[in-house]
């Protein structure tokens, strides 16, 4: 066990955990930030996507001792009231079916639009290909990303 000071959504949190603990489980079990989801644990589905200094990473294979003073942003920290452009676009397109993968999808989409504000269809597909939606809402997600990119 070791003590880590993590910067999550603009606040510093102290946790005492095994250094090999994935950030996913630190967020969920220790910080009660439950919006980041467990889907596969091996970086294959993207449900656990967070931002580390603004870049999309899979929190299930990001170990707590590798974070240092980097800024972690989770779905809870993306906006105050769900008013981030991407979240609003998701609501406008009424994307979700079961909804479980969507916080990871939104975090991947937000990171994509940070780097590339006007992606083409192909760029969206390539950037999002690591996020699985088992319900098959891919077309709506693409529409939502295009909606957000037009704002």
């Amino acid at each position: 066990m070791a003590v880590f000071n993590l910067n999550v959504n603009g606040k510093t949190h102290q946790v005492d955990v095994d250094p090999s603990t994935p950030v996913l489980w630190v967020l969920r079990d220790h910080l009660n930030l439950l919006g980041t989801k467990y889907g596969c644990g091996v970086a294959q589905c993207g449900a656990c996507t967070i931002h580390l200094d603004g870049k999309a990473v899979r929190s299930c294979i990001t170990f707590v001792d590798s974070v240092g003073d980097k800024q972690i942003t989770t779905i809870e920290g993306l906006s105050e009231d769900g008013d981030h452009l991407v979240q609003q676009a998701w609501l406008e397109q009424d994307v979700a079916q079961c909804g479980y993968c969507q916080s990871g999808q939104i975090m991947s989409a937000a990171a994509l639009l940070n780097e590339n504000p006007h992606p083409s269809d192909e760029e969206i597909e390539t950037a999002m290909n690591g996020n699985i939606c088992r319900c098959g809402t891919y077309l709506r997600i693409k529409e939502a990303i295009k909606t957000a990119s037009k704002v």
Binding site: M1, V17, D18, S20, P22, W25, R28, D29, H30, L33, L34, G35, T36, K37, Y38, G39, C40, G41, V42, Q44, C45, A47, T74, I75, E76, L78, S79, D81, G82, Q87, W90, L91, D94, A96, Q97, C98, G99, Y100, C101, Q102, S103, I106, D121, I124, E125, T126, M128, N129, N131, I132, C133, R134, C135, G136, T137, Y138, L139, R140, I141, K142
Partner: protein
């Protein structure tokens, strides 16, 4: 208005303090999900609620809370069911809050997510709940205004008396209405007067989902909750021999390690009690990662299990399931299927004299179709919460069959059924996997032993390798043609390991004078269960590919070929036991022919068509694609669907889009194989699910407009698209796709 008797489930209209309070809510996440998440900023929460019946309560300011009775798995019933109540209550949808109801078999009708049956089986009860409340509000106003109830009308949450010009919001009369006796008769709206049902309303959990609120089972937490994980045998045909708990008991955060028996040996299992490994090792600790680490460290020895029999309490009669010994492999399954297909099967339906017609045929066309085992793989792995006390228990989590889980938990804990409370969280998918609620029983047994609240979590690997799969299927289709290329007889022999898929009384049965359907099954120790459109998901893929090839052999258009058969089935059906309505079946084919411009060539694209009937609904699809590097690039999928009244059109379109993506993914990539009893895939690196680059570019959805009461939608568009895809791929490549997954297209 139509005056109807309130005979439908009158028990629902009795007062229920449980539902009014939203159940015995515990834990912060549940409260969060039940209230604040779905409250729009502009809505003022009432100071006081007045319970009208088990489905709704009204605040003094006119805001209404509607309880959605059924489990929400992504089919969007948490929005569409309350829409039906709100329609008959006659309120502004903007003033409606929605809460998930707990399990209550007395107050509600069939709280189950399965068979695409949520809306169909509750449609009348939901309408009645809204209409009854509206009548009670009118009666309350009539009494206060000293007029007859017939003279009191309503308009979107406002009660009115035309003669005196009196008006009042529902909120003003809610407290009085709550005391009014349940009326003997109520008015139901005419379907043409609907203003909520049939209009698109957004997902009531939408904001909660996009802001990451703890809506799901895995998110449910209470103070002092322990985390538990299981270790199951690595292969089917194996069982626990021994393990050494001491080496992990001292690991940080670990509370206990012991053997868990899910069901007692003398217990007669329900249909929903399917389980692969009844004895497992459980590790309990303070956090997920600590338990996971201990799970990886624990040394467990396994041994081969002997053949066994499991007692099942069936529908009406008890029966036994044989579980053979041995370590099964995919190559063995393939050999077994080939052997079984050569033997006579059980004749399920026989019309005319098919054997004679095959003997006399000028030509016989015979094709074999297969599909592998599949893992459901919902994005949220199995999990459940349990808090078991000496004389009561609460279980909370994602479950498609809460009523049956409640029974199994009560039986296992030795508690009366009414001492087990079941609460439903939103589910991160299910696809049938969450019909089998052994994980709730497991969580309850662990909590009982630990005397603490417990959350049981399956890892993805646990889930993918612990069974309850879609069975492996095999079908041989044969057609007899005369010298003029007329179809004179049709024969299907279908089987599965360990369960069959045959729907013998569906099209083309009823359209053919000489028809034979045979089935077979063969035992396996690999456990199986229902997966999205069970049986149909293979039937449609195989039969609709065969019909396409048959039409080509006969030199007729594949849509016209089906329509001609359906015309026969409609005008002069063969046999009396035909499941489908031939005119509605033809209707979706005609619609998709028109919408896709079938009779004009799609430039540069290869097209395929298929149609199917299941869950009382009809779906026809046309796929347009080009092939690149052996994989299809699907440009467009046209859908024509007849599921009766569409409650929430945009959400219904979403459901069809998802089914199409899922169907293409299943047919192209889905496959679980076995070596020496062990699944060869245990996560999404090996088990391939469809991704963005493989999904269709565009999906067009058209619904047949009619006033038929709603039928299924979550499943019917899923099966036929597999065949439409195969038929289009044939047009592009000249190769027929007989064997799923199509990326392999082999059965050797």
């Amino acid at each position: 208005m139509t005056l109807v008797k309130t005979t439908y489930n009158r028990r629902s209209f009795l007062k229920s303090s449980l539902a009014a309070g939203g159940g015995l809510m515990i834990g912060f996440s549940w409260l969060a999900s039940a209230c604040s998440v779905n409250t729009p900023k502009e809505l003022t929460i009432p100071d006081e609620w007045f319970e009208i019946n088990a489905y709704l309560k009204i605040g003094e300011n006119g805001v209404v809370t509607i309880f959605s009775p059924n489990p929400e798995i992504g089919q969007n019933v948490k929005t569409s069911m309350p829409m039906i109540v709100a329609e008959e209550l006659d309120v502004d949808w903007k003033n409606v809050l929605v809460e998930q109801a707990p399990l209550d078999t007395v107050k509600y009708t069939r709280q189950l997510a399965g068979g695409s049956d949520s809306i169909r089986t509750t449609w009348s009860a939901l309408r009645m709940a809204g209409a009854t409340a509206r009548t009670m509000l009118r009666e309350a106003a009539a009494k206060a205004w000293n007029v007859s109830v017939e003279e009191v009308t309503s308009e979107t949450g406002v009660l009115m008396h035309e003669g005196s010009g009196k008006k009042a919001g529902y909120g003003e009369f809610a407290s009085v209405a709550a005391q009014v006796a349940v009326p003997e008769k109520v008015d139901l709206k005419e379907l043409d007067d609907f203003s909520i049902v049939g209009t698109s309303r957004k997902n009531v959990d939408g904001m909660g989902i996009v802001t990451g609120k703890p809506l799901f089972g895995l998110d449910y937490k209470v103070d002092g909750m322990l985390y538990a994980m299981l270790i199951h045998p690595p292969a089917f045909g194996m069982k626990l021999k021994s393990f050494d708990p001491d080496e992990v008991k001292s690991m940080p955060g670990i509370k206990d390690v012991f053997t868990l028996k899910t069901f007692n040996d003398d217990y007669k299992r329900q249909w929903s009690d399917t389980i692969s490994f009844n004895e497992q090792v459980v590790i309990i600790g303070n956090s997920t990662w600590e338990v996971w680490n201990a799970k990886l460290m624990l040394n467990v020895e396994w041994e081969l299990s002997a053949e066994s029999k499991i007692s099942m309490a069936g529908w009406g009669n008890d029966y036994e399931v044989n579980v053979p010994a041995g370590l099964e492999s995919t190559f063995g399954h393939i050999a077994k299927m080939k052997e079984m297909a050569k033997k006579p099967g059980e004749i399920v339906r026989r019309d005319g004299n098919p054997e004679e017609e095959f003997k006399n045929a000028a030509r016989v066309i015979e094709r074999t179709y297969t599909a592998p085992f599949l893992a459901h793989s919902p994005m949220e792995p199995m999990n459940f919460f349990a808090d078991v006390k000496a004389d009561s228990a609460v279980v909370v989590g994602p479950i498609q069959s809460p009523e049956y889980m409640g029974k199994s938990v009560a039986e296992r804990l030795g508690l009366p059924l009414d001492k087990v409370e079941v609460q439903m969280t939103r589910m991160g998918g299910g696809f049938g996997r969450r019909l089998y609620g052994h994980f709730g029983v497991e969580a309850a047994v662990i909590s009982q032993k630990m005397k603490a609240p417990v959350k049981l979590i399956y890892t993805r690997e646990d889930e993918m390798t612990a069974g309850i799969y879609r069975p492996m299927y095999h079908a041989v289709y044969r057609a007899a043609l005369d010298t003029d290329n007329n179809l004179t007889a049709f024969h299907v022999k279908m089987g599965g390991i360990p369960e069959n898929a045959l729907h013998a009384n569906r099209f083309p049965a009823g359209a053919l004078d000489n028809y034979l359907a045979e089935s077979w099954e063969t035992d396996s120790n690999i456990s199986v269960g229902a997966m999205r459109a069970p049986g149909s998901n293979f039937n449609a893929a195989a039969e609709q590919s065969f019909l396409d090839e048959l039409a080509e052999e006969m030199g007729v258009d594949p849509i016209q070929f089906r329509l001609d058969l359906l015309k026969r089935a409609q005008e002069n059906p063969v046999g009396e036991n035909n499941d489908y309505d031939a005119s509605r079946y033809a209707g979706v084919l005609e619609m998709v022919r028109e919408k896709s411009g079938w009779n004009q060539a799609a430039e540069g694209k290869s097209r395929g068509v298929a149609a199917y009937f299941c869950h009382r609904s009809y779906a026809a699809q046309v796929v347009d694609l080009v092939m690149e590097n052996g994989e299809p690039k699907v440009e467009k999928v046209y859908n024509a669907i007849d599921c009766g009244i569409v409650v929430n059109p945009d959400a219904a379109v979403n459901m069809v889009e998802g089914s199409v993506v899922d169907g293409i993914g299943t047919a192209m990539y889905g496959e679980l194989t076995f070596s020496e009893g062990q699944p060869d895939q245990n996560n999404f690196d090996g088990y391939r699910l469809i991704r963005y680059t493989e999904a269709p570019k565009k999906i067009d959805v058209h619904f047949v407009e009619n006033n038929i009461h709603p039928t299924g939608l979550g499943e019917p568009p899923y099966p036929p698209v597999m065949a439409a895809l195969a038929n289009a791929m044939y047009k592009a490549t000249g190769t027929r796709y007989y064997h799923q997954p199509f990326i392999k297209n082999s059965f050797d």
